[in-house]
Amino acid sequence: MLQDLEAEVLASHQLGQDVYLLRLYAPLIAEAAQPGQFVHVRCSETFDPLLRRPLSIHDAGNKGELTLLYQVKGRGTAWLARQQPGQKINILGPLGRGFTLPQNKRLALVAGGMGMVPLLFLARRALEAGNEVDFFYGARDREQLYQLETLKAMQVNLFLATDDGSAGFQGPVTKLWEKYIPERSYDRGYACGPRPALAAFARLSGEFSLPAEVSLEERMACGLGACRGCVATLRDASGNRYYENVCTGGPVFDAAAVYWED
């Protein structure tokens, strides 16, 4: 059930230069949350900034805890980073359609940068459902690989890539993944990250006929499907393009259905 509630800040940890882990107490949302879903966060006590910010659910514990992980980009996330434990933040969620969650399969999760955020939650639930999880995680450099301890503690097979080679494979995470696709014969792939990485992921999964899902980002207003503002261009079976709301039709889409040329 959708909730619009005030969540108390339990803690806000700075993980990197501009990156924060926010722990909220929001049992009604935490219990309902599915991997790939997001919450829509009010980032102001006034009307500037005006709109909510969509943030993926990074983790949802059984003690009513909801974890977000975000990078400060502009004025909304800057406000969020100023909030202290004890303060209340208005959040709406859980929103959107999450990832497909199979049982007892072998899955490839491919994360580029902050794209790791929803995939960690997916990995946790996928493991609980008896799947084997290969977690590919790329970032600019070693400093920008967050939550490695948590991931390591999670029994995923972790594969790292950095642009500068300061950790793991040097190069794009999709290049690293590509090397494993043939031998690991995955049942399904999942990706989240910058659009070019997603497009490469979609191309590779297409080549290997791997069922694959991606999580897209679009600017949002309502987050509920009402304003038709957050569309992505998709294509149907016959190749015709159409617009679909990212907030309710996604943010997770079949990688083959996305019109990547946009």
């Binding site: 009307f47 709109l51 909510r52 009402a226 304003c227 038709r228 503002g229 957050c230």
Partner: protein
Amino acid sequence: MEQAGKRPRVNLAVEIAGLTLQNPVMPASGTFGFGEEYAPFIDLNRLGALVVKTITLHPTPGNPPPRLMESYCGLLNSVGLQNPGLEIFLREKLPYLRQYRPPLIVSIAGRTMEEYAELAARLSETEGIAALEVNISCPNVKEGGIVFGTVPAMAARVTATVKEHTHLPVIVKLTPNVTDITAIARAVEDAGAGAIALINTLQGMAIDIEKRRPALANIAGGLSGPAIKPVALYAVWRVARAVKVPVIGMGGIMTARDAIEFLLAGASAVAVGTATLVNPGAIMEIIAGLENYLAEQGFEDVRELIGALQT
């Protein structure tokens, strides 16, 4: 005598173009989808009216993304009237909306006079629609793309055309992007509008300075939200003094205080748009706040407030 601690009941009902609204607060077209999106948050039966996204004769795909950009206290959108078109509206959206008691106002837009006529005629054959809201903030493809609502004669012609093809009350919704909005208002009143709604969005733009490209794929968009409230309020005040038909005021209403300003300026009802996108409960909070204000200030009837501004 009143029971201690119990406030006298305040009458919130108003009349607009022959419709009785249980209270003067309704959603603004395009910000409330087809109602169902907000049903998890609010009881739609408590709205003054239901107002749906503008529909067109044929399905409209809308503009390419990105369609939204935040601005200071404002929202720029270039949704481009994306809607499933009349047929799907009638088949898939109307049955849901019909379950609810508040009057259903269907917003329509056309690219030609003929499209307005056909929309009006077809919707008038249907049960469960209380009024039509004519969105004239769109370009007339037969007249070089001039926006219908920017030329009094053209605005009047759309109004008259719709009137000819319907027995339903006709609300005409004005664009603020004109030199003299009262001239448009008088023209549509003379042409038979039963009520006037205003304002639609202001034209605006934003630029992504890193990419050096417009922030919206469509280059320009419509500005809504708190930023435009003073412009909307002034337009409503002027139009309410220029016409005799009731006015539905909107533009940047975020709180009950804002709504009260519009009523004082002469609006008989108000619509809430962007506020709902930010806060799904906004309309309910506004209705409650209005009721409180009236009780505290000793009014028994919201109609005492309408146009009560002292100048």
